[in-house]
Amino acid sequence: MLNIGQIEEGFVLDHIKAGKSLSIYHHLQLDKKDCTVAIIKNAKSDKMGKKDILKVECDIEEMDMDVLAVIDHNITVNVIKGGEIVAKQELTLPKEVKNIFRCKNPRCITSIEQELPHIFILGDEAKGNYRCKYCEEKCTDVIGDNFLFR
């Protein structure tokens, strides 16, 4: 079995759906950071069978946790200080997200109005559905085509 060492200061994202860690790496813009990141794919998990894990050596305050919540709010976030887990951060779906998704509706005003923020409102919390504030079009693919940072 492959062993990855502990991190001293930073956070660990656990219970990521197997195969999704790279996409989260990009959506959190970790590729633009200078810190150490370990991407663990297909680790064994009692709960999930297989899971991915991300270990990131940087201050969690620098991360946009709203982005993570909308991608998958079932991910466990462990905050690490001095090599120990000091807190577990709950991810809750934000009621409103700004400039995380872009509206794909070609008839939406966001397609032509200059510098208009792309705002989505949480509709059905159980299903995690977001709709564009302006045209009410559903965001169909949160980590795919709708994502603004792609």
Binding site: R107, I109, E113, Y134
Partner: protein
């Protein structure tokens, strides 16, 4: 300051107040003839719509106010690339209230967020057309005397028709309404509306032929079935007659049934039906003016009794 973006922006109680005002305007038009003296309505129509624009303009003129505006994007600074946000900031300096139609969905909401004057959504793409819904509700309430306890049939293009979707959302707030959806398979009501009705235990049924359900309807809301919505010409030719209202189909309806249509009508209501006392679609146009008059007074916070 309030705007009107969606028919659900007003509570049922606020709508009641607005409709009472509209009915008072209908009964005593002279009383309101100078209620907007010195006020200006800007009609900002980025796409042509003669009917809605003229209705707004007639409403403001009936109240003693004036109208400025444009009726096509090519006549406005939008053709020079001006944003909606900038246009409304400018309009706010010229007028007291603005009615905006725009082909882009959500444009009036963007305008409202930057505006110093009330903005009314006069239709934004396929999204909302709240003053049509106010018109539909006022017509039903005025001619039926109530907005509850009836069966309404919605017939024609139920898939793309924004007026139909808005009307369903507005009516589901009232008690004991049943819906009958009459459309070809290709133009069925969207799933999300069916899901909403199921969740709220609101009775509905879906049928293909209008004749089947005519006897049970208190209101029949007709819409146009457009040729271009069909995948092939054969289906269109086969189905189109199911959705044409004529004397024979009217004979199956209740004596006090109402026929409504957002207009323009093409051929889905035979001209022979126009003289039937149950045909209410031209009276509906008149109610559209009263509804818009009441809306202008409400959004400008003009209380006629305090003038």
């Amino acid at each position: 300051m309030r705007h009107l973006m969606s028919p659900l922006d007003f509570t049922v109680e606020e709508l009641d107040k607005l409709f009472n005002l509209a009915n008072d305007i209908e009964t005593n038009p002279k009383k309101y003839a100078h209620s907007c003296d010195g006020k200006k309505l800007a009609t900002c129509f980025y796409e042509p719509s003669t009917r809605t624009r003229l209705s707004f303009e007639a409403a403001m003129i009936n109240l003693g106010g004036h109208v400025i505006g444009f009726s096509d994007a090519s006549c406005s600074s939008a053709s020079k690339g001006e944003s909606v946000s900038d246009t409304i900031r400018m309009i706010s300096c010229y007028a007291d209230i603005c009615a905006m139609r725009h082909p882009k969905e959500g444009a009036p909401m963007v305008a409202a967020s930057k505006s110093r004057i009330p903005v009314v959504n006069a239709g934004d793409g396929g999204h909302q057309h709240p003053t049509q819904t106010l018109t539909d509700l006022l017509t039903i309430r005025s001619l039926k005397g109530r907005l509850n306890n009836f069966t309404i049939g919605l017939c024609g293009d139920l898939k793309f028709g924004r007026t139909v979707h808005s009307l369903i959302h507005a009516l589901e707030r009232y008690d004991n309404i049943s819906f009958v959806f009459i459309s070809p398979e290709e133009l069925k009501i969207p799933d999300y509306i069916i899901e909403m009705l199921k969740e709220k235990n609101i009775p509905y049924k879906e049928v293909i032929r209008l004749e089947e359900v005519m006897p049970e309807l208190d209101i029949l809301y007709m819409t146009r079935v457009q040729r271009e919505r069909f995948f092939n010409e054969e289906d269109y030719v086969r189905l189109k007659d199911f959705y044409i209202l004529n004397k024979e189909k009217m004979a199956l309806g209740k004596e006090d049934m109402l026929v409504l249509h957002p207009l323009p009508r093409v051929n889905e209501i035979s001209v022979e039906v126009d003289d039937d006392p149950r045909a209410a679609y031209f009276r509906q146009v008149q109610y559209g003016v009263y509804a818009r008059m009441a809306l202008i007074l409400t959004l400008l916070e003009i209380d006629i009794d305090s003038l």
